[in-house]
């Protein structure tokens, strides 16, 4: 039975494509069928699948199933090893070894992974440590309408934050170095997965804008730099405004111009954490999410959400939107749980279609861009009266880390669509338990050599069985391989992974997960040491 499932998904997916293509003829402005989920063109398309819909999708599409002998012979079965290989391709893990002022870092290590549904993947992630100030930064960037914006934000945001945190003195040194054409001191140290798209060195235009930013910070004459909360707030908004301004400014180089247009006309939500000692700040704009896994003294685990999704299910966001726009728009600002009926998150970078006035959009695009070739997605939603409707202003949460805070999970909505917070904590806890199970427990250590040997051999067999060394991989495996009862179904997992590139997005979203483990001992030491 297992082998039939893949064709089944494949066929149903093909049927849905047919419906979509039928729909697309009506709305020819829709440039690409990549933009299905986040961006939706009004509410008509019958087949647009939300990423959380695969379960219902199966049932719905079953009726369309048609069999042809040709396709039945088409085998897509993957071996468990191959499944692991696919799942692990995006893995990265780092142990944080640096000592912060002589004490071990409060971050023990992090594990991260990414599984693409879009082709190319629209999610981005970043981990970097600030070299001129202290602290580690973790970010998840979920792009929509292309990957340009997510790429740009993932490359640039940490620089803005790092610069915001710098003291007056450091900024002066940076400015001095620029003025005398000396090499800049390094700002960030990236901890990258080898497969992550190569972050271009801050290109000269970007560096110029970063410099303008720090020059303005210099003019503020603040000895110690911004506090972290302010730094995060300003950095998000500043970068978004730079993205918006860069495309308005006349740029000589066609490549740069096209790129900045793609960045501005695509969008990205962002969620980033800044950890410095026991101080954890999370800044979020959009529907990525950060949660904390907490183990109470009685051993029970619980979940502490550090962000709120900025979407139509968030009452506070609804009221904010209503507050920011005239009463006459109360009914049109959110339609079908989407901002102006088109966008799922209601905060994001880029997406100038929802930020600029119609006039501005027209005048910029009339400067002779080949929007078709650039995959620019240009349209004006109905009821577009009082832009901006969208903001990149983040919501910043501060949490003082306690010894019971064991890990932080940052993930794009591809994960949260299918797993809830408690489920995610449960999976990571299981992962931790499995990992620690094969550590010799001194208290229960077998007394003689024979018993020790058999215990060790058992544990070795266990390690061979345990599929994932990386918690992020485990989360992704469960996100796409669990059925509606939360049970792992290997066939389902295989089927989901063998979807052809162009169909994958119908059944799942890009998923990016970073799990950050804290060092309870060093947090404890922090409290004891004062």
């Amino acid at each position: 039975m297992s082998s039939t499932l893949p064709f089944w998904i494949l066929n149903s997916a093909r049927n849905s494509i047919a419906t979509l293509q039928g729909g697309r003829r009506l709305y020819s402005r829709c440039a690409s069928n990549r933009n299905k989920s986040r961006w939706r063109l009004f509410s008509q398309g019958p087949g647009t699948l939300k990423s959380s819909a695969p379960c219902s999708g199966f049932a719905l599409q079953k009726a369309y199933r048609h069999t042809s002998t040709e396709e039945d012979d088409f085998h897509l079965q993957l071996s468990p090893e191959q499944v692991n290989e696919v799942l692990r391709a995006g893995e990265s893990a780092h142990k944080i070894l640096d000592l912060v002022r002589g004490a071990p870092n409060s971050v023990l290590r992090f594990e991260s992974n990414q599984l693409a549904a879009n082709s190319p993947v629209e999610d981005r992630r970043g981990v970097a440590s600030c070299l001129q100030t202290s602290g580690l930064m973790f970010g998840i960037f979920d792009g929509h309408g292309g990957h340009a914006c997510a790429q740009a934000v993932s490359e640039r945001l940490f620089y803005y934050v790092a610069v915001s945190l710098m003291s007056q003195q450091t900024l002066e040194r940076m400015e001095g170095a620029m003025e005398s054409m000396k090499p800049l001191m390094p700002i960030l140290q990236w901890l990258k997965h080898p497969g992550d798209s190569i972050y271009k060195d801050v290109t000269s235009v970007h560096l110029d804008h970063l410099r303008v930013y720090w020059q303005e910070l210099l003019d503020l004459h603040m000895e110690m730099g911004l506090n972290i909360k302010e730094a995060l707030m300003y950095s998000f908004q500043r970068l978004d405004s730079d993205i918006s301004l860069e495309v308005q400014a006349p740029l000589e180089d066609e490549m740069t111009r096209n790129l900045s247009l793609q960045v501005a006309f695509s969008g990205a939500t962002a969620c980033m954490a800044h950890v410095d000692g026991v101080h954890l700040h999370v800044a979020n704009a959009g529907d990525c999410r950060a949660i904390l896994g907490v183990q109470e003294d009685n051993g029970m685990w619980s979940c502490l959400p550090l962000t709120r999704d900025h979407n139509a299910w968030n009452q506070a966001e609804l009221s904010r939107l209503k507050r920011e726009h005239p009463e006459s728009e109360d009914r049109t600002v959110i339609v079908d749980n989407r901002l102006l009926g088109v966008l799922m998150p209601c905060r994001a970078f880029g997406d100038v279609q929802l930020k600029w006035s119609k006039e501005l959009q027209r005048s910029v695009l009339e400067r002779g861009f080949d929007t078709e070739a650039l995959n620019i997605y240009q349209f004006t939603p109905p009821h577009y009266h009082t832009p901006p409707y969208l903001t990149a202003e983040p919501e910043v949460t501060y949490h003082r880390l306690r010894p019971q805070d064991k890990f932080l999970v940052l993930a794009s909505d591809g994960l949260w669509d299918v797993l809830d917070n408690e489920g995610v904590v449960r999976l990571v806890v299981e992962h931790l338990a499995e990992a620690s199970r094969h550590k010799p427990d001194l208290a229960q250590r077998p007394a003689n050599l024979g018993l020790m040997q058999s215990l060790l051999q058992q544990r070795r067999a266990q390690v061979l069985r345990a599929a994932d060394q990386n918690a992020a991989t485990r989360l992704i495996r469960h996100a796409i391989g669990s059925n509606e009862y939360g049970e792992m179904e290997p066939e389902r997992l295989t089927a989901m992974l063998t979807l052809p590139e162009d169909l994958a997005r119908m059944y799942r979203d890009d998923i990016t997960v970073t799990v950050v483990y804290f060092n309870s001992d060093s947090i404890d030491a922090y409290y004891k040491g004062g």
Partner: protein, 687 residues
């Protein structure tokens, strides 16, 4: 952390809990030690800081490179057996199980050298703080299992503790001792590869002799710090290499085994080109050198299967390369050789070289001289070829691993004189050896210069053009006794010259060859090699090289007195060539080196190297024959007559094979050639 031993005239004083900050050096000489408790003046300093020796060496202003790296090492301690083990219980080593077992307070102490070692302290001492030194039972499981497989009864033994005690390993599995090449009085004794306990006595004695007399009583070049340079000191290299070295401790060590890690560090510009043509590589002093070239249609055994003490799988390949050297022409990339240039404004270069080298170097410009660089005892510190490029400049070619040692020796003995310049030009030249009777045709076609012996006699050096490239140093020698030329090519021309040589050589049947062919050719011609046959305790007279020593020129040079005395008294050992008679190449174990030599049934020495001679169709071994007194075992004078009158056997793994001893190369094969060489040599000296 470091214990400090100081000889203070009256005795030894030990400072506990004192850590060395750095060693104080003035004018390249140790003057004292700066510790956290103050300064201590001293003349000698011994770095025996174990796994911290690397860092301590680097803490010097002029860093001392000591290539070693620690790996975690686990051993198990148990409570006593029911009948406690006696203190005279032997230590058991089960190499297949990778474990050792010995008595420990009536119980056992058992550890091993696992296949998957855990290197540690790559980043240095700081790593210690991160509480890494924990027991790792899971890691120990395979060793525990092999212990219980070997001794199932121990199952009920109570565990006391699993100890994690890092051990230090070196890149070649041999310990490191001797004086630093850069700082006088700075001695090193480290890198015991987990055998410190058993080596301690001997190693301590040799080092003490070294410090007191300036040299140890045995030749221990294999352990000399100067066999390494800074190039082996990369942490990544060491980390990777020790992961290969540690398991090797209990592996079968087969001849001609090459390390697989830390490779492709130094390469000739032709590396890729040769590799694409099937080259198989070995490494010396970090330099990749071709062993032989596997023809496209030939398959060799997999690495593991190729391990053998019998006839190896490359036998036929090397045979065809040797044949081509004898009948046509082969090209061997020999770029790894150490190359120095010594120049001066006046006669300083000649003067100092005449003092440092045993052969007469005051030869006409363009001549090449084979000469030893001897120590006071007349032993070879180096054996090299020196070409006189001009009145005031010399080009010196030495074995690859002499790069650090020879440099240090020359620096130590050369006067501080700004008019005298010593330069290491190893990296500047690619060396191609064109061996074979048709080499002359290839070269003359490429240079439009007459290459006949009249114009280009043996042991000559000329700068000429080869192809489009000008200024190629061409030398009429091949390091094998075969006709041909060495080409020293500025590296940017290497590919061009190689391409030209190969394309012109095609019609003469040219092909690539490797060092195994060279070795076979060299040994059958009785060419001894420094580092294998020759060492610091062998003199020119002991290997029939009196003609390469200027004893009768009335000129002083290092080692002269010792040689004069030896000439008068006679030698106590003699390098001899043996041709195995009743050895079946296909079925018998091969000689490699170190096989005992028996003369008239009496032990007389050991072989130093051996090779199969494709010309003689016999194995040839080189080795020193001693004359041990039957009664006292005392060494007696060895004469040519003594050698010639013996009946010899070589013992290979317990089986004795008859061997013919020769003091000169087998003449019947090379009569013509040798006579010509002799003439040239006498010409050279008779000028």
């Amino acid at each position: 952390m470091h214990c400090l031993f100081l000889y203070l005239g009256t005795g030894v004083q030990i400072y506990d809990r004192t850590s060395v900050l750095h060693v104080m050096v003035k004018k390249g000489q140790v003057t004292g030690v700066e510790t956290d408790k103050g300064q201590i003046e001293c003349q000698y300093f011994v770095n025996c800081a174990g796994q911290w020796a690397y860092e301590l060496g680097l803490s010097n202003e002029e860093p001392v490179s000591i290539p070693l790296h620690a790996c975690e090492h686990f051993y198990l301690l148990t409570r006593p057996l029911e009948t406690p083990l006696q203190s005279n219980t032997p230590t058991v080593v089960d190499a297949d199980g990778r474990i050792y077992i010995r008595n420990w307070q009536g119980g056992i102490l058992s550890g091993g050298f696992e296949k998957n070692p855990k290197p540690i302290f790559t980043e240095g001492k700081n790593q210690l703080e991160i509480q890494n030194l924990q027991e790792d039972w899971d890691h120990f499981e395979p060793l525990l299992s092999s212990l219980l497989r070997r001794m199932p009864e121990l199952e009920t033994l109570e565990i006391m503790k699993l100890v994690n005690c890092p051990e230090t390993f070196t890149p070649d599995m041999r310990c490191i001792m001797g004086e630093s090449p850069a700082v006088q009085g700075y001695y090193v004794l480290v890198g015991m590869n987990s055998a410190g306990l058993s080596f301690a006595g001997g190693a301590g004695r040799y080092l003490a002799e070294w410090m007191v007399h300036g040299y140890p009583s045995e030749s221990i070049w294999e352990l000399d710090l100067k066999r390494f340079g800074a190039l082996q000191s990369s942490r990544t290299f060491l980390r990777h290499r020790v992961m290969e070295v540690m398991p090797l401790l209990y592996d079968l060590k087969v001849p001609r085994w090459d390390f697989q890690t830390g490779r492709q560090l130094r390469t000739s510009p032709l590396y890729d080109r040769l590799d694409a043509q099937g080259a198989r590589w070995m490494e010396k002093h970090g330099f990749e050198r071709p062993k032989y070239f596997v023809p496209p249609d030939k398959d060799l055994l997999a690495l593991e299967q190729s391990k053998t003490f019998y006839k190896p799988d490359w036998f036929d390949i090397v045979e065809s390369e040797v044949k081509c050297c004898k009948e046509a022409v082969c090209v061997i990339d020999m770029s790894s050789f150490t190359k120095f240039e010594i120049t001066s404004t006046g006669d300083q270069a000649l003067e100092i070289l005449q003092y440092l080298f045993s052969n007469d170097l005051d030869v006409p410009v363009g001549h090449i001289v084979h000469t030893g660089m001897l120590n006071e005892g007349g032993g070879y510190e180096n054996d090299c070829s020196i070409a006189r490029l001009s009145k005031r400049s010399f080009f010196m070619i030495s074995p690859t691993d002499q790069q650090v040692h020879c440099w240090a020796w020359l620096k130590k003995h050369m006067p501080e004189d700004s008019n005298l310049l010593l330069e290491d030009v190893t990296w500047k030249y690619t060396a191609l050896n064109l061996i074979g009777p048709r080499a002359v045709d290839v070269l003359s076609e490429l240079s439009y210069a007459p290459m006949t012996p009249d114009h280009f006699p043996s042991l000559f050096c000329k700068e000429m053009s080869v192809g489009y490239a000008n200024g190629i140093r061409v030398m009429s020698m091949t390091h094998t006794g075969e006709p041909g030329f060495m080409l020293y090519i500025p590296i940017e021309y290497a590919l061009h010259v190689y391409n030209e040589v190969m394309s012109v050589g095609q019609k003469y049947g040219i092909r690539n060859a490797g060092y195994y062919a060279l070795r076979s050719l060299r040994i059958e011609k009785f060419f001894a090699f420094w580092g294998q046959d020759l060492n610091t305790l062998t003199t020119p007279l002991e290997c029939g090289r009196e003609s390469r020593v200027k004893l009768d020129k009335g000129m002083d040079f290092i080692g002269r007195d010792a040689l004069l005395q030896q000439k008068q008294n006679g030698v106590y050992k003699r390098l001899t060539m043996f041709i195995l008679d009743d050895h079946d190449t296909d079925l018998d174990l091969w000689p490699w080196w170190g096989e005992p030599i028996y003369r008239n049934g009496q032990y007389a020495g050991k072989t130093t190297s051996s090779a199969y001679s494709y010309t003689l169709e016999r194995h040839v071994c080189l080795g020193f024959v001693h004359n041990f007194s039957e009664d006292t075992g005392e060494e007696q004078v060895v004469t040519a007559d003594f050698i010639n009158r013996g009946e010899y056997e070589i013992d290979i793994a317990g089986h004795r094979f008859q061997a013919k001893a020769k003091l000169y190369p087998v003449t019947s094969l090379f009569t013509h050639k040798r006579r010509k060489d002799d003439v040239e040599l006498s010409d050279l000296h008779g000028k």
